[in-house]
Symmetry: C2
Subunit: 315 residues, 2 copies
């Protein structure tokens, strides 16, 4: 078997798009497809994934990452953006395809992709935070993915960092997500544009175009106001990292998600500054490396495929 | 070999006292000793531990738990309360005794004791918080103790929960320890006695006798003011648990340390209330069980001995 042999098929089910890929032994995508996610349609979701598996790699192991709570028996307990509850996705796909099927949370498969084929190669202890519309995450410690008893481990966006603070979409106050997500960056920019004077290119952006990405682009273009808004999010990302590094003592912290590719040059130094100031025992330990993830949107399909290949090898 | 055969010797090195015990295969202590910890005296510490090992179980594996940062090579990097830095305790003891020696952080060995012989028996995912002078902790996930790259994992007391909040002994603001430790309970009681009117039995306690224990005893005795102070600490303990349970998704949260035996009936219900309100996906997962640890001050020596026995069996 050569390294460019296709090992497995990976599928990444997001709230809007569904990616599929045929992945080789080096974690490289050999063929890919992208469709709109069937939302609120469990049968359609099963049929779509089965169709992609049949097209890209019939008879190969199939790995699926899903934006939602996935229990260890490959059942999607709750996918809020997919409008799905208690779908035994693994069993349904196995019955349909007759192959090994592994279903996991989307952040978990993305971390696994980075571990095997991206920025996490060779690391044994890695915390990954994904900054996009929300803040997600996953953890690999002592060579094991932290999934927990019900498959709900790694919900790093909902660590309370400012008890009683800003409202989070989850309904609580003060979660990391309420301070460091793309949505939070957008909200803070709007608040500060309203409450503060100062000039900013963001004042010329149409109201409905003002989002986290617009703030990032302005900041990278030298806008001091936008830069400050982004540094504030990076500061809170750092506060979250202080807790997580105190808990896991990893050698590597990865920042992935939509923001990683673009906002990392501003977010990461701000976060590192907090980590360097506040980590426990800072004189007696090395700081972990903090870098952007490498695989972008491909991390999920690559990780899902490689996890499925592992599972097939283990049986 | 019967179950009452002595397996190993455990030693627990605290900032004031040093406990030693001969432990059998069921995790029961068959013989014990207790001396004052030699502080700022590395040679004295090595000699004291070697003496205890020689007395309780010459030729048996020796496990040592130390209040401080212990690296995976059994070196005490930093023990602030012991005034020790970079002491290769494992190597020194192995040279002296010729037996298997395992050195770990004190919270790690205490959790291991609870896992094998206490409240954690049979669990695969456990978060333990120890509430004493400070707040410590340790984590067992997917059957592995979370020690991290440098042996500094599990520093649960220094997760930021109120960024910019109360000052913590570690120098930062807003750590869990600054809100839920015995010291924090004492400080809050003093502040509220000063700032609020209301009657309380604590007003009759001599100033230098007013500590976390006095608050707990008054609360258990029905003092409403003291009860409220303790519930506040329990609330923040719960805020910390929300983050930790979102991260690890454990089936069990243990509360140990000096407070566990006495304050648990007030701290734990307050913490559970927060957990039940704020845990992510609360309708789609069971709440973890939250209980007091069982072994008290013995957890460390028992866990250290059983870890050393495991290490001896593995070689």
């Amino acid at each position: 078997m050569t390294d460019d042999h296709i090992l497995a098929v990976g599928v990444d089910v997001g709230g809007t798009k569904l990616l599929g890929a045929a992945v080789d032994a080096t974690g490289v995508i050999r063929e890919r497809t992208r469709v709109t996610t069937p939302v609120g349609d469990p049968d359609g979701l099963v049929a779509t994934i089965a169709g992609i598996a049949g097209e890209l790699g019939p008879d190969l192991p199939l790995g699926v990452g899903v934006a939602g709570i996935v229990s260890p028996d490959d059942t999607v307990r709750y996918g809020p953006n997919l409008d799905i509850r208690d779908l035994p996705l693994g069993d349904r796909l196995r019955a349909e395809l007759g192959t090994t099927v592994t279903v996991r949370n989307d952040a978990t498969v993305a971390l696994y992709g980075e571990l095997r084929a991206g920025a996490g190669r060779g690391s044994e202890h890695v915390v990954m935070l994904t900054v996009g519309t929300g803040v997600g995450g996953a953890v690999f410690t002592h060579g094991t993915l932290v999934e927990g008893r019900n498959g709900m481990g790694g919900e790093l966006g909902h660590i309370p960092i400012v008890d009683g603070g800003r409202r989070c979409p989850c309904g609580n106050r003060g979660c990391l997500e309420a301070y460091a997500s793309g949505t939070a960056i957008e909200e803070r920019a709007r608040e500060r544009l309203r409450d503060e004077d100062g000039s900013s290119a963001l004042r010329d952006v149409a109201t409905d175009a003002l989002d986290g990405k617009a703030v990032t682009l302005a900041a990278l273009d030298g806008d001091a106001f936008a830069h400050e808004v982004l540094r504030e999010a990076g500061y809170y990302l750092g506060v979250g990292m202080v807790g997580l590094v105190n808990v896991f003592d990893p050698e590597l912290v990865l920042v992935g998600g939509g923001a990683a590719a673009t906002a990392a040059p501003i977010l990461l130094p701000a976060a590192l500054e907090v980590l360097g100031d506040r980590l426990l025992g800072i004189g007696h330990r090395p700081l972990p490396t903090v870098v952007a993830a490498e695989l972008g949107d491909d991390a999920g399909v690559i990780g899902a495929a490689l996890l499925a290949d592992d599972a097939a090898g283990a049986t």
